[in-house]
C-alpha cells in the first residue's frame, strides 16, 4: 500500500508531531505509517482524511501485490 501522507503534510505545512497531536497518536505512529511500516486502522485512516479534508482513497492507494 502506498500513501501520500508526506505530501499532504507538506501542503498544510505540518510536522509529524503536529499531525500526531491532531489525531491523538504518537509521532512514532505517524512516522511508521509514512514509511509504510504500519497500516493504520480504518478509524485512524478516516481521522487522517478529516485532518487533510480529503478522502481515504486519496491518501492511501493499493499496490499491485496487495
Amino acid at each position: 500500500m502506498r500513501n501520500n501522507l508526506k505530501v499532504e503534510r507538506a501542503k498544510l505545512n505540518l510536522t509529524q508531531e503536529d499531525l500526531a497531536q491532531k489525531i491523538e497518536v504518537s509521532r512514532q505512529t505517524i512516522n511508521a505509517i509514512e514509511s509504510s511500516k504500519y497500516v493504520p486502522s480504518t478509524v485512524l485512516a478516516l481521522k487522517l482524511a478529516r485532518v487533510f479534508k480529503t478522502t481515504v482513497n486519496e491518501l492511501f492507494e493499493l499496490e499491485k501485490n496487495d
Binding site: 497518536v25 504518537s26 512514532q28 512516522n31 511508521a32 514509511s35 511500516k37 504500519y38 485512524l44
Partner: protein, 137 residues
C-alpha cells in the same frame, strides 16, 4: 482492554530492581518451601513484571496495541525455542544441569524486553537510518 495508568510502569521498574537486589543477596534457595522470604521475593518479581506489562504508555495509541500483540507472539516463540534448545543440550551432553528451569517470570521478562525494543529502540534506529539515507540523496 483496560490498562493501568502510566505511572504504574515506574512503580513496576522500582519493585523489580528491589526484588533483583533482594534475590541476589538471598543466601538460601528461593524455592526452599520452609522459608517464606523466598516466596515473598518471587511474588514481588512477578507483581512488578505484571505492573510493567499492564500499564499504559504515555501516548497509548493503536500501534502500541499492535506492538503488544507482536511482542507477545515473539516472546512466546523465543521462550519455546530456548527451552527446546536447552533440552537438546542436556541430552547431547548427557548432563541434567542444562535442563531448562525457566518459569513464567522468564516469559514476562522476555516480553518486557521485546516490547520496549519495538517501542523505543526500533523507531530510534529506523529514524537514524532514514536520516542517513536522506543525506545521501
Amino acid at each position: 482492554m483496560k490498562l493501568l495508568p502510566n505511572y504504574f510502569k515506574l512503580i513496576g521498574f522500582i519493585l523489580y530492581t528491589i526484588a533483583s537486589v533482594l534475590a541476589t543477596n538471598y543466601s538460601f534457595n528461593l524455592d526452599d518451601v520452609h522459608k517464606p522470604a523466598g516466596l515473598f521475593i518471587q511474588l514481588i518479581t512477578l507483581l512488578s513484571l505484571v505492573l510493567i506489562i499492564f500499564s499504559k504508555q504515555k501516548i497509548d495509541d493503536e500501534m502500541v496495541k499492535y506492538n503488544r500483540l507482536k511482542s507477545l507472539q515473539i516472546s512466546i516463540l523465543v521462550v519455546v525455542l530456548l527451552r527446546v534448545l536447552y533440552k537438546c543440550f542436556a541430552f547431547y551432553f548427557e548432563d541434567d544441569k542444562w535442563l531448562p528451569e525457566f518459569q513464567i517470570n522468564f516469559l514476562l521478562l522476555v516480553y518486557v524486553i521485546v516490547f520496549h525494543f519495538l517501542q523505543i529502540v526500533l523507531p530510534f534506529v529506523s529514524q537514524k537510518i532514514a536520516k542517513l539515507k536522506g543525506h545521501e540523496e
